[in-house]
Amino acid sequence: MTLIPVTEVAHVIRSKNAGPYELTLDILFKDQATFAATRDACVVTPESIARLYGIPVTDVLKVIYYEPALAIKITLRRLMTSGAFGETDVYGAQQHAPLLRLMVPAGDSCR
């Protein structure tokens, strides 16, 4: 399996609050083949996300593959309620950077 950086095959990698208590991460793939190859290779799992963020796997609340948008959605427990004392990112819009290091299998169209 050839692995390539996710930044080459995704057109959106973002984070945002899903309400004040959760943070949600989206990876939107450019093409069906890479989306499917990534899904089938199980490279994005609660365990791999927990490792990337250095958090307990129980703080990764959901990993959902959503084919209509060629998307992987990951929902994390927020470190604290949005805007609470010690907050670093009220909107949660800059918490995606660890995802940029992901390596994913090349789909057919990339070979």
Binding site: Y21, L28, T88, Q95
Partner: protein, 446 residues
């Protein structure tokens, strides 16, 4: 039915040309969302708006003019950003000003969304309160400590206002899709497509390519589904851009819970039509056995003072953690015992905090020193002490004996005022979907 959404949040603005194109296509209703919890707890807690007054006035003036021109309903959800009474009154005052300037009388249906502290405490005692995921269970103490408590209204109160004959309806806190779906629901259309369309329209053109939160879009609804049309020729919808929008700010793209039921998107199909249009079918609304509304509130947790400073000295950067902890230790005894201290270190982990996987330091760091205390004077005192102690702290090997910090501003300390935290984000079971959302008439004359 044609539903025109001008902008993602009232006050964000929209191009005249897109709005004129929308008006030319003769919509049946103009609807706009006014709010969000994204900007954090301050706005609901303090009663302040998070959009500019001038922006809201400019948008409202054009929408009121459009309403008068076509004699169609204009529905505004979550007035003033957070939708408490004070935000609603702020919005009404702006409409009053427009009425005066344009010499027009407006007859409004006004639906506040405030829930009294007693009503929530009673619901708590009757076991009708349920925390949302990750939210701690509610206590009476937390309810009493909250400032305004609002609930997201479902479509029913707005449908009732339309049936009373109101053409301009201004709502307090409102489930975001409601202003867009209400007219369709008042005519007995299927709530599945109506609410799903509302979910997309509440963000205006964010679901288009290229996306924008300040451009107009038309949703065309029928009994089987809906079609999205951009009103700006530079944007188009694609099936992926629309499908991707159901991910936006949601934890689950297939199941979106709201007042009275869940929007089930598991059977939805997206098809691309000509001219950048997308057709969506298969959205279903599944009613809950018990009607629940979402409560939101914030409470004041003290007063905040901050100081912003840069560090360029490699010696201090190398020892920063040790120095910050010694400085805090030294200041503690002279601060209010309840004061909390936090140091944001930009250039290291200022954005991600404990989640930051990179451990390398930049050659210069930005510090935001923050003190939260029971009153402003105590916060000012704490921050001043922290800043001056750090400025002159003699760390081992120090060469820079004239000062450790570079301040971009004089004054170096900024009193931020009251600080808030979200306190309620819970569901409350109710019997009558309208009971906390009383409709009243308001006439605004020049």
């Amino acid at each position: 039915m044609k539903i025109l959404s001008p902008t993602a949040i009232l006050g964000y603005g929209f191009p005249d040309a897109s709005f004129a194109e929308g008006m030319r296509r003769r919509p049946d209703v103009l609807a706009v969302d006014g709010g969000s919890t994204d900007p954090g707890p301050y706005y609901l807690g303090s009663g302040k708006p998070f959009v500019s007054r001038a922006g809201v006035k400019q948008d409202l003036a054009r929408l009121l003019q459009g309403q008068a021109e076509l004699k169609i309903p204009l529905i505004l959800g979550t007035a003033g950003g957070s939708g408490a009474r004070v935000h609603l009154d702020w919005t009404l005052e702006i409409i009053q000003e427009i009425a005066r300037e344009q010499q027009v009388t407006y007859r409004l249906g006004v639906i506040p969304a405030d829930v009294t502290h007693d009503a929530v405490v009673q619901a708590l005692a009757e076991d009708r309160i349920l925390p949302l995921t990750n939210v701690p269970p509610l206590t009476e103490k937390v309810v009493r400590a909250s400032t305004s408590i609002v609930a997201q209204m479902g479509a029913e109160p707005v449908v009732a206002a339309l049936q009373e004959g109101f053409d301009i309806i201004i709502c307090g806190r409102c489930y975001d899709p409601v202003p867009f779906a209400a007219l369709a629901l008042s005519k007995g259309m299927d709530p599945g497509p109506a609410l799903h369309l509302g979910k997309i329209l509440e963000c205006a053109s964010i679901a288009a390519m290229p996306g924008s939160g300040s451009d107009c879009v038309m949703g065309i609804l029928d009994d089987h589904g809906f079609t999205l049309e951009s009103l700006n020729p530079e944007r188009r919808f694609t099936k992926v851009s629309v499908a991707a929008h159901s991910l936006y700010e949601k934890s689950d793209p297939l199941s979106l819970p709201g007042p009275g039921g869940v929007l089930d998107l598991s059977q939805v199909s997206y098809r691309e039509w000509d001219q950048g249009r997308v057709r969506v079918e298969g959205s279903r609304f599944v009613r809950d056995a018990k009607y629940r509304i979402k409560l939101e509130a914030a409470r004041c947790v003290g007063y905040r003072t901050i100081s912003i400073a840069g560090v360029r000295d490699p010696g201090l950067i190398a020892l920063l953690d040790e120095v910050l902890s010694k400085v805090q230790e030294q200041c503690r005894s002279r601060m209010d015992p309840q004061a909390k201290i936090h140091c944001h270190v930009y250039g290291r982990d200022g954005v991600m905090g404990p989640w930051e996987p990179e451990r390398k330091m930049a050659h210069e760091l930005g510090l935001v020193l923050e003190v939260l205390a029971p009153d402003q004077a105590a916060a000012d005192n704490g921050c001043s002490l922290l800043r001056s102690t750090l400025l002159h702290y003699g760390f081992p090997g120090r060469l820079t004996t004239a000062g450790n910090l570079a301040f971009p501003y004089s004054p170096s300390d900024i009193a931020v005022g009251a600080a808030y935290e979200f306190s309620l984000y819970h569901l409350m079971e109710i019997d009558d979907p309208c009971c906390h959302f009383p409709l009243s008439e308001r006439i605004l004359m020049p």
